[in-house]
Structures are given as structure tokens and as C-alpha cells.
Symmetry: D2
Subunit: 371 residues, 4 copies
């Protein structure tokens, strides 16, 4: 008797152990003052172009991974499965939409305009009718998207297949920019990244994106038990499709690739501090003494800090990692008489995994009361 | 400069860290004397019936997970995507076949005959033409499969949707058995198990199966970083489709579900011992002394041992787990003068995760030289 | 040049990857109304008895693992290292105390009175001077502890070395109970558990404990990357030594072993609900329709639910696991006209990993608004 | 009844899940022709100097982690626990020795001569009597070690506490070298690395080391569920203390830190190839066709390859990672008519995580038959 039951329980237990089942992960990346931080992926394929999963899988994946919004962006010009899969360009959205409503995932209607370089591949988001994007002339297609009110981004600008030698900005892209036909750019795509795109986004005021451009099941490409798919963080006034659209056009995005986050300092700085809870040990730091600061990182990101200048009257650690969901101790050691007179201690770190350009890190300032 | 490079490397590193990439896991479950131990899944769906992935995904998953063989078994009678996916019953096999050849995955042509209970759902494996299985009368369909030389198994016999109260064997199944139209049965399906099926397989001489019956991407249903999908182990004379067919008809299979393996003692016993390398400490065990045996488990399975009878002249641990890829120490303590006279020490354990029936474990005997 | 730097970064990265470093894990087990839920281990050894680590290691481990309080309870009567380690019975506490203050870990002064059965081993907590517990007569030693105001618990009551055949309650324990010399009992110790102790705690009004009784480094005994050491949850009015003492004497404890928690229903029920955030889909459930409830489990425990009686007018899942830090969907299906008339839906589940006795689970009631 | 048993099994199961128990991990780093590859750590502390664990813990850790040999190297001049721990300099070895024999761990008698820079800290290995190393003059102490036949290495040469600004080689080290009193150097220590030391080892013919210099329990410093402690690989003629000594003096070592291995090309090259099993697809590569090579990496190391020069007549991947215990596909694409005439295909990769100097990688050559 015992054995039979032990099997029952072992199996039951195994299922709870191995099966990811019908549940949704919580991504701990905090909101910032004034905005919700939405986790999004705006570049996704299905069997209706050259992807290998049914549209509903994309919604289920997004729900299980904890995303807020996705765009299915099947290619207009490239549909290798069309012998067996017979449908128009709006079909993948229509199939995914009911499950998206059911799961409360924001589903953005999109399509990928797929041409040679220049201008290469572009995603049109928030379109109304993908079928109308099927045009011979690429600029006609993009114009149609714009006229439908689309937000348009340049996909994988440094993709070797289209820019084998170096990642160039073509005059065609300038033309698109001048005609309100280019609003964003991918800094990260699948497992590639493009430093130039990080800087173009900054110089030309484009929204920066990290998208998966996923064709296979997401979990075949990323180890979701330890990390995320590439995600575009959208800082939106509300968790609605309208809120996302407003935020994208207002350039309030950041690009997350594993533990590296790229965006504007005015967005990353509040995100960093919203991630932390700080425990300041009471008492005034004295020469030769140590003041302990406990820093709890409540986010899923590890923050890797590197000191940028010495403290005034005290020493701080050269480098420290604030691990996700842990409290890290920061020890400040008084090194001069001066310290006794100070009411606050300022410590300046650069955050190595928060980038504001392709070469510069976000620099943050801790201000700790000293009393 | 340093920063830019650090980003490069961080990203590169991240990719190697998170992406499962183009690689194949090695499953460490050993061959047994005379047979190769093939890892197989004979119940799989695609978008061509009610699954949600393209057929090539099933081959790629199998390759990455380390499987040797799969059968794509789309439903004959149930094709909810047929409005968009237009093809005959052989199409999913045809699409998967080239990649299977390329990846050296043995692809078995199959189909699922999908009817009410009795007789419920049956998989026909090694068929030649799935289209001919589309018949009004279920027995005509099964007969057609048999006449094509198919191996036929009863799927999820205890599925609540068809056997809500108890898992029954119907006279229709007896009829199938008598007419060489039933050769195997699933003891495990997706995340369910059926104790009755384990015993029927034994009593009625059917091959026992553990299949995934997967509809979604495999990694949405199972945590592949820590475990396996359900697998049918096939003990074959060769790693060929013919070798598998011969083994199935010869009833040389075992059903693996996470860490629980079900099958005949004559197959599980050699598999258990083929998993181990034993280091026997030199020297004769004496009264009041201890003899250490190092047992290296080179398989991916944890073996959970429970003593079934005391040793003669020595004590052995009541229970011990031989963890996968670790050396476990077994300590034998001499408890009588008798021990000095013995040239070998026999220890009898039942292996709690190796089942020979729904209630009985495999009992194994260690024989350690004592000198 | 690039290579050198890539090494630098790879190594830096590796360190952040592998080293647990100077950080403290956050254990997510919520407070309950009126009480803080403190994570404690009241049975720990060091090199000053038969343990193998220095006392400061016990504080550092507790801090890194996220514990609030520990008691170092070295044996009074058993000190195998005394040839090399020469000190009195208070020494291990004195060595650990400064680091405990520094790390804000509550360090309870304790000792283990170590005798044959009966009465076996007992821990005395909150003593003032361990040296005075060194007495020939065990009852004199226990009396001394009581006179110092100690809380006294019976350790590993079912330990095979002292109770080989069955776990007995001896008259000596009744005598201790009657003389206010026994206040608690371990239901879990190291990797053992004692069902009888769970029921004795309930019948005889003793505080129930799960302690590690750790001798080696904690991480040699438990995989801290996936689970916890055994912990006693203390429901205290304040995070102070006094708060813990009051709670122990008031019998407000629960015993946590991996994912199994044992205690009184009046403590486990609020803990369960404090772990959850519930998202109730708007709208009234109708016959033939489905109402989705999202249940977010913010704790580190997986709750394994099993339906105890059918809902009135609707069906609920037979079994569901609320995984830690995930949102699980509960689907309620209207199955009678009746349902339209109900303003709330009551669902009754037992929680399989929350035990109120050795054989009974906590039964919880969800009450969902239906409108 | 069922519940009680379910608890029993859940707990049993949990124990097998979380407890690392009495078992030894197998480290998969292969032997090379002519030599056994021994996994060693030659810099370890206990409570007998400033460490925090009992000497037996060091043996148990080494056994569980899969090491072959360790040296306990307590400080001669620094013993902060001496008020409580009273013993001579040989005591920690004597305490550890019986368990080492029992566990078949090779225990090397050692000590750390602990002085200011120059010459800093040096480990003396294979000494006979540590007490005789207690001398006022550091060179007398080192001479005594040498006269006992010791192998002497310079520990953490770039340790900031002793070399704050830059890592210097002092004339004292030249003097030691000239007097046969310096034979090895640490390139890795705890979580630091010293590029200069890598090059000094090469230029001055010293054995290169990676040691943990562990003071706390090993698992508090390293996540052993995913990686290793720093290890010195010793290529020995036999798994004996004599074999290790001969190998160290013959400079046959490599330094392993996480996934980075540093050593001589003549040792790393055979180690790399001994890790692999190669499956070469039959058939001659033709222009415009693809030849698939399956590369199984049977070691625990991920090898990160980067192409150093194009193939003749075919293209090979720019970069590929051979993941531990997986088969990776290498695709070679014929790009000229030339290819048809070649009987073997040579591919040249540098291995980014195998370093032969602080800036140079090992370059390996695959030679694949082409027919």
C-alpha cells in the first residue's frame, strides 16, 4: 500500500517540481514616479510568416513570463509557409487577440516591412490594417503605415546579413526621419546588440528597443529559469495600448538585455533608486570608525557599482554588486577629522550595467544622512 | 574604452549564459547488455492537428533535449486549425523529415486515431499513409493501421475526460488485443499516470509507454533545465527505425517520468547496474569494524534505495540515495563473528523509483567481495 | 589588449555569478496581523562542543540566509574538541555576540543538556550562565535552567539512537511538564521529522520547533540556492529577544521544513492569506461561463491546494499549486442556474503543505465577490 | 492515512532534494596522455590560524566537491584564536589526516609563512615539521622549508594590502628564485587574479596556481551548485602525494578559475582535445554545400571559440561555444571549387577561456577528414 501511495505522491510532487504549468512569473522591475514600467516585446513572429509557433503561443509565453505587452510583427514580404498556411496579413493578430484579452496582455497590432538595405527591416506598430502595407515601393508601404498612425522602428540595424562590414546610417533613414516615418530603433535584437544604435537613439531622439525577434518558442532561445528574453521597458502613464503608444512617441523607453539596461539617465536614475530600500545605521561616522549602510535591492536586476570618485572624509568600496533580492552592506570608513562635521555623506558610483550611451554608464549619487 | 568593451563582453557572456543555442544535451541513461537504450517520445502534436508548433520544432526540441526518436501523431479526426492550415494527414511528417535526417533524429510516421471511449484514443506508429486511416468505423481505421504494419498503443487510458470515475478495460480492448490491433499502452501521459496501465502492460504483455502528448512547446510544459519530458526508453538492437519497431513489438520498453522508471525487472535490473561504478575498499570486514563501498552513479537518475532485509553478519544503511553523477558511500558495519568467515557480502535493496508493477519496486542485490 | 580586458571582465562577472559574497537573502514569509514573523533556528553547535565551525560563522550564515534569530546551543556534557579548544560554556556566545550586534541578528544564549533517554536532550534558551548547568543530576541541571528563566524544549524526541523502536513520551517528560521545565518540542530536526511530536505539541500545549541541530557548515547540509535550513517561525510582538521569549512562552510558533509548515490553524490561516494578493475578474459568474481569479503568491512557499468540497453552483479545480512569486489562475465554472443568485463564491481547499496535526491539513476558505 | 504518508514522502523527497548529503561530486576534467589530471587546492585555513572551520571540514569539503588533494596551510605568524585554540603548528594536519585517509583525499602538509612585502606570504608544501618554520628571519624560515624539501609558492602577489599601487616583482623574489626557494606563484587567489603572475610564471618557469585561500566554509564563498572553487590542476604520473610533488617541481600545473583556465599550451592543448568527442558527417564537402561536425564536450568547462583565420575553401563559424556536456554542431560551408580537392579540412580557433599568457589564448587546430 505504502509504495503505491509513495508513487502517487512522488509523481504529484514531480509535476509541481518540473511543470511550469498555468502560472505567471512576476517581473520585479519597479515603476518610477509618474509612470508604470511596462515590460514589452515589439518584435515577434508566428507560423503566419517565418515563425514556428501558433499566434496564441506568443500570448501564453508573454503571460507566463510576466510581460505586459507584445506586438506580433509577421513579415509582409516573406511567408515561407504559405503553401500550408493560407491567410491574410491580419490573421495572426486575430487569432491571438481573444487569448490576449483573456490573459490581460496588451496585444499591439503590427507588421514587419521586410526589404533590402537601405532601409532594411522596419516594424510598424499600432497599425489598423496590415494588408494595406503590401506595396511594391518600400516608401509607399512605410507611408501607408505612418498614415495609419503607426510608430515605426528600424530593426536590427547592424544585422550582418544586411550590413556585413560596418553599421551604417543611410540617407534613406535620414529621409524617413525627416518625414516622420522613423521613431525608434533596436539596440538589441535576439542575441545581438548594436552600439551605434544606442548612440543614434540618443543623438536623433529615437526610442530605444530591445526585442526578441523570436521565431521559435521563446524558451528554446533563452533560459527563462534564470533570465528574461530581451525586453523593451516602456514608461507609460497607464497600462493601456494608448499609454504605450504615447510613451513610445514620447521616447520613454529603455532596452533590457539580460542584466544590461540602456536608456536615458532621467529614466534609469529613478528606476535604480526605486529598486532600492536603504537602511542607514544610526550614528555619526567618526575618523577611524565604520558606518554600515544596508542596501536592499528589490528588483530582479543585479546592479554592479564602481566608485567614480572618493568620498570626502571617508572611504567607500571601490566596487560592489547589489544583488537582486538581497541586502548588501556598504561600509563607509572615516579617514579624516573632517568627517565629524558632515551631516550627509555623498557617494558617487557608476552603474556598470546601466548604460546611457554605448560607452557611458549611469552615474548615481547616494546621499546618506550622517547622524 | 574599457566600458564599451565591458559591455561587449557582458553581452557575449550573457548569451552563452542564457541561450540554449544550437546544442544537444546528452542524456546519461546507459545501454544494457545486448541493447542500446534509446530515448523516445511517441505521442506529439503540431499545428497540423491541435498542436501549436510547426513540425520542425518537434525535431529541434528532440535534438536539443537529447532524444533519439520521436513520432509526430497528429489527430486524424480533430484538426481545429484547418481553416488556416490546409494539408493532408501526411504533411506534418513530410515537413519534419528533412530536418530529422539532418539532425539524425529517428522520425517515426504516426497518427492518433481519436474516438470516444471505448476504445478511446490510439496511436498508430510506423504507418505508411496516414490519410487511409480516415474511416467512419474506428475498427476499420485500426485495421487499416494494422494492415500497414503499425504498432498500436492505447493513449492515456485513465484520462478523466473519457474515464471519469475509474480506469476500465473494455471488451473492445480485449477484441483489439485478440486481433493483433493493440500492442502497447501509456502508463504516463503529459503529467498524468495510470497505475492500472502499469499492471495491464504486465498482465497482458503490452509495451509500456511514457509519452508527452505535447501540444505546446515542450519547454512550456517541463522545466528542461532540471528534468526531462516523459520518455519511453526503448531497448533496441540498433539505433534505427527498424530497431525501434522490433523492440516495441518485442515489448522491450520502460516508461520514464521524471525520476520514476517503470518496466520489467529483466530490463530495469541491468539498467540499474549499468549506471553504477563500484569502488570496494580492500580488506575483510570484521566484527565492530566498518567497510566503505563507494558507489558512483553515472546516470542522470537518482536511485532511492531502501533496505529489504538485514545483511548476514553486518548492518547496512536502511535507506540511501545514489545521486546522479555523484559517488555515494555505503558503510557496512560488522555485527557478528560470523562476518569474518564470509567471502562476499550480499545486500538487498528495493529501488523506490524503479517500479515493476504499480505497487512493487525493483529489488536489487549488491554482491561485494569481502577480502 | 582586448583579450586581457575580456579576461578581467569575465572574471569579474564570474565572481558576481558564483560568490554569495557579503549579502543577505530576503526570506519572503509575511507577517500576520499583530505579529512579526521571525525566522529562527534554536539548535546550533560550534567547535566549542562537537560542531565544526567557529561561532562567528553561525552569525554570518544566519545573516546571509535571512534569519532573524539564532541560539547557539553547545552541549554541556559533550565536548570532544576540549583537548584543543579550551574555554568555558559561555565562550561560544561571547565570541559570536559582537558580530551578531553588528549584523543585527538576535543571538539567544542557550545550551544543550545532553543526557540519556529519559529525558534525552533538551535545549535551554535565554539562560544567563551556561556554566551553572553543569550538574550531575539532569533534573538539577534543568531546574537551574528554569530558575534562570529559560525556555526549555525537548530535542529530536524520535531520534533512533535514543528511541530505536518507537517514539515514546516518558513519565519523566510528564514530570518536567508539571514542573514548568518543558515548554517546547522539535517536530523537525536536521533531516528528520517526528509525527508524534506534532501531536504532542498540540495536545500538551508545547511550542513546536523546526531546528537544524547543525554541526557542519549549514551549506554542507542544505542546498541554500533552492531551499532553507529547517526554521522555527516565531510570531512576535517585536523583533527583539524579549519579543521572541514572550512568543515562545505564549506558544506562537510554527515549524518550517522545506516547503512543509506545521502549526496551529489560527497562525497558519492568516499566514496563508497574508501571502496572497487576489485579482478577482469583474462580472457575475453565469451558468456555463467561467470566472477567472488571479492569485499572486508573494511568499517563498509553494501552496499545494486540494479541493475539500464542491462549490455551490460552480466547479473549481480539484487541485492547484500556488507557486512562489507567481500568479496562478483559478477558473470557476458555473454549473447551475443557482449561481446567478449568489453574491459571493466560497471555495474550500485543504493546503497539503500546511499541517495542523500529523495527519490533518489546514483547510482554508476563499470568499470571492461575485459581481 | 493518506495525508500522513504524503507528509512522510514529501519530507523524504525534500531531503533528497535539498541535502547535499554524504556524496561526492564528479569533476569532469579529463586526464591527458601520460598524466592524471588532479584537482587540487593548496591554500586553505582552519581555526588553527585565522580560519573559521575545523580541519576535518576541509577534507569533507574537498571530498564532496570532487577534489583529489588539498594542503592545509595555516599561518605560522598569525593565530588570532590562540586564546581559545591551543596547539602547535602541526595540529591542524594531524586532526585532518585520519579523515583524509578514510576519504582517500591526498592531504599535503603545509604552512603559510606570513610576512610583510617583500617577500609577502609564501606557502611551503610537503614540509615535515611546521613548527620549525617559526623563525624571526623570514629567509631563515624559507630556508628551513626548502631544507625540509618543500615546494614554495608566492601567494596572492598582487594583493592590494601589500602591493597597493602596482604588482611588483622585488629583488627579494629574485634572490629566492636563485636560491631554489621559490617554485610557484598564484595567478588566482580567492576571487582575485593577477595578470602579471601569469606572465612571471611563464618567463621565470614557475608553476602557476589557482587556490581558494579559503578561511570560511567553502560554500559561503562559492556557489558550488553551479561552479567550482579556484583549483590548481596538477598533471601527475600517479594519484599520490609523490606524484603531485614531482608534477609541481616539473611545472606541470594549470590554474582554473570558474571557466577560465591558465597554463602552458603543451598542457592545455591535449586537455582541450581530451574533452571532446567528434562526430564527422560522412561525405566530401562541395562548393555551396554544408558539412556538419558534431562536437561533444564531455568536460565541465564551456569552451568559447573564436575563429583566427578563414578556412581554405570553406567558411566556418566566427565564434562558437562548446557547452559542457552537450553536442554542438559546427557547420562548414564550401565556398570555392578548391574544396573538392581537399582530403582534410583544417579550422583554427582560439579558445577564449584558455589562456597561455595574460593576453594570449590557446590556439587549437581542428583537422577534419573530408571524404
Amino acid at each position: 500500500m505504502r509504495l503505491k501511495i509513495s508513487v502517487v505522491v512522488l509523481l504529484f510532487f514531480s509535476v509541481t517540481l518540473y511543470s511550469s504549468g498555468q502560472s505567471r512569473k512576476i517581473i520585479h522591475i519597479p515603476d518610477i514616479p509618474g509612470y508604470k514600467t511596462l515590460k514589452c516585446d515589439f518584435h515577434i513572429h508566428t507560423v503566419f510568416s517565418d515563425g514556428t509557433v501558433w499566434p496564441t503561443v506568443r500570448v501564453e509565453e508573454a503571460w507566463q513570463e510576466g510581460l505586459d505587452a507584445i506586438a506580433i510583427t509577421d513579415h509582409i514580404e516573406y511567408r515561407p509557409h504559405s503553401k500550408d498556411v493560407v491567410a491574410d496579413h491580419n490573421r495572426s493578430y486575430e487569432i491571438a487577440e481573444p487569448l490576449a484579452k483573456n490573459r490581460n496582455i496588451l496585444l499591439v497590432r503590427g507588421a514587419e516591412i521586410t526589404r533590402n538595405m537601405p532601409p532594411g527591416h522596419l516594424n510598424a506598430l499600432f497599425i489598423r490594417n496590415a494588408n494595406l502595407l503590401e506595396r511594391d515601393d518600400v516608401f509607399e508601404a512605410i507611408k501607408e503605415a505612418r498614415d495609419q498612425g503607426a510608430f515605426i522602428l528600424w530593426n536590427h540595424p547592424g544585422w550582418k546579413a544586411q550590413q556585413p562590414d560596418s553599421t551604417l546610417w543611410w540617407e534613406e533613414h535620414t529621409r524617413l526621419l525627416q518625414n516622420d516615418m522613423l521613431h525608434g530603433i533596436e539596440a538589441f535584437n535576439y542575441n545581438e546588440h548594436y552600439p551605434e544604435a544606442i548612440d543614434w537613439a540618443r543623438e536623433k531622439n529615437l526610442s530605444v528597443f530591445a526585442n526578441s525577434d523570436i521565431h521559435e518558442p521563446v524558451s528554446m532561445a533563452y533560459d527563462l529559469t534564470r533570465g528574461f528574453r530581451p525586453m523593451t521597458l516602456v514608461f507609460a502613464r497607464s497600462r493601456t495600448e494608448g499609454g504605450i503608444k504615447e510613451a513610445l512617441f514620447s521616447r520613454r523607453t529603455a532596452a533590457l538585455y539580460n542584466n544590461t539596461l540602456v536608456g536615458k539617465a532621467e529614466l534609469l536614475d529613478p528606476l535604480f533608486f526605486a529598486s532600492l530600500k536603504i537602511y542607514n545605521q544610526a550614528g555619526k561616522l567618526q575618523l577611524g570608525e565604520t558606518k554600515k549602510i544596508g542596501i536592499e535591492n528589490r528588483s530582479d536586476l543585479d546592479y554592479e557599482l564602481e566608485l567614480v570618485q572618493p568620498g570626502v572624509g571617508f572611504d567607500a568600496p571601490e566596487s560592489v554588486t547589489l544583488k537582486a533580492h538581497r541586502v548588501t552592506l556598504l561600509e563607509l570608513n572615516g579617514n579624516s577629522e573632517q568627517i565629524a562635521g558632515m551631516n550627509e555623506l555623498k557617494v558617487f558610483y557608476k552603474v556598470k550595467n546601466l548604460m546611457v550611451s554605448s560607452t557611458e554608464n549611469l552615474v548615481i549619487t547616494f546621499v546618506f544622512a550622517n547622524n
